[in-house]
Symmetry: C2
Subunit: 266 residues, 2 copies
DNA sequence: TATTATTACGTTAGGCGTAAAGATT
DNA sequence: AATCTTTACGCCTAACGTAATAATA
């Protein structure tokens, strides 16, 4: 029966050319390598070397054996990787969400109910989330509507209501409620990674421009330093003092009042 | 690093279900198997079993590992076979000949010059021989003409002359020489495995029928018991007594006087 | 002389089996 | 009671390194 460690030394010999070099590389004695090569030869059951008193080299069959050994070692490596990857996947709960807030809520709950599990999460568009679900590439998902896919069940998870956030001096600040129509054309500060909120805004305010900020700090600085309107939701009960000089005005359209659904395996 | 022997026990466990059964199958103690499974688990580096006090079973990852192990073991087997087959091929001289007599001559010589080598020989048609040559699937070949293929050289090897062999009473027996034309229409006893001789006869005597005999003894009996003509060549200096009552008449056509060429690698 | 492969040999680590413990059916 | 896994433990094999040999460049 073949021995993978010996095969490793065998291919090393094919690359080094001498047993001494291999011994050096593996930090073992030369007699040990000699024995390994004898074992490999015996395992294959056919001559693999041409031996002179002071020199050993692969014969033609040996070259073929080296090729086979290389392939075998690589496949052994792949087997290890595959099993480890499978194990990793088994220990992680993969969550795909269409929005940040319900994802945070879910993570909070998962932290309590599944301690020790790794949670891998991503925020993406509704269609992408649905794709992951269909291909079974996630364990949980959050969407602003229920789905009816075989093997999955949907349940109401939480609601979130959108507000416009403007400085007190802003021309919109007087209103007690606003519609997309009123807002369309204004330019907004926007955070990145907002999932379906992002597309919702762009669809309902096609004329507006959105100044997307990747960095949280930069966003906050711009809120403080500019009079540009931005958004918030009822999820953020108390605002940090960056929003001190601002007021929140609810958006009255129906689709700005969202119910999120948690989709899990049956 | 994975150990193939342990993997073998691992897949055996997947089939048996208990360590005791595996121990029995491999004629070793149960503690030994326990250790092997622990080693396999450690090699993969992830949990593969669910253990209760007196029960051990594969977990989901373990099932995947078994599949990988099976594949790996199979590939190891293939590697062994491949190398052994290569070695076998290296030790055998593969000869393809268009006729028996020159093949026998060649085998005689090879027996002397390459002792210890296996000789694998086959008699086939000219075109088939050429195919083998072109595809490098033989080491030597015999054809009734020289070839000019890259990497191969042709040399005259021997000549062979065809005779018709008929009973003294036969109507052809009087002739001192015959042509295909004279013979066309007569039916002949013929041996099998004659290579290009077979097709030569059929081409030059399209009207004749050939009663091909696979068994040497049956052929001889028929020669003795019938008056059917058959063939022989100058290669057979002295005939056995089966041919006692017969005479040999040379075929005068040019293509019945053959020069065989030995084709070898340059 | 330096390098290399292999054999001989003594030591030791690791692998195996026996015995036993612990647990389940 | 029977079956099964795992631990403990002692023995013994087999793998390793050192030293020596032999041969080559």
């Amino acid at each position: 029966m073949l021995n993978l460690e010996e095969l490793e030394q065998f291919v090393a010999f094919a690359e080094c050319g001498t047993l001494s070099k291999v011994a050096e590389e593996f930090h073992i004695s030369t007699p040990s390598i000699t024995r390994s090569m004898q074992n490999v030869e015996e395992s294959f059951g056919v001559p693999l070397f041409t031996r002179s008193k002071n020199r050993i080299a692969l014969n033609e069959t040996g070259e073929v054996a080296v090729t086979c050994a290389r392939r075998l070692l690589q496949e052994a490596d792949q087997a290890l990787s595959q099993v480890r990857a499978y194990d990793e996947r088994r220990k992680t709960i993969v969550v795909k969400s269409c929005a940040p807030a319900p994802l945070w809520e879910l993570m909070k709950k998962l932290g309590g109910s599944h301690p020790g599990m790794t949670v891998s999460s991503e925020i993406c568009q509704n269609a992408e989330v649905q794709n992951y679900l269909e291909q079974g590439k996630c364990d949980m998902a959050i969407l602003p509507f229920p789905v009816s896919l075989p093997g999955w069940k949907s349940e109401k998870f939480m609601t979130e209501k959108l507000f416009v956030c403007v400085p007190r001096e802003h021309e919109l600040a007087e209103h007690t409620g606003l519609y997309w129509n009123d807002l369309n054309g204004f330019n907004f500060l926007l955070k990145s990674e907002l999932g379906f909120w992002d597309s919702l805004c762009r669809e309902n305010m096609p004329v507006s421009k959105f100044l997307v900020q990747t960095e949280e700090e930069v966003f906050d600085e711009l809120v403080k330093a500019s009079s540009l309107p931005c958004f918030t939701t009822d999820y953020f009960k108390e605002q940090s003092d960056v929003y001190a000089g601002r007021v929140n005005i609810p958006i009255m359209d129906e689709d700005a009042n969202v119910t999120f659904y948690l989709i899990t395996k049956k």
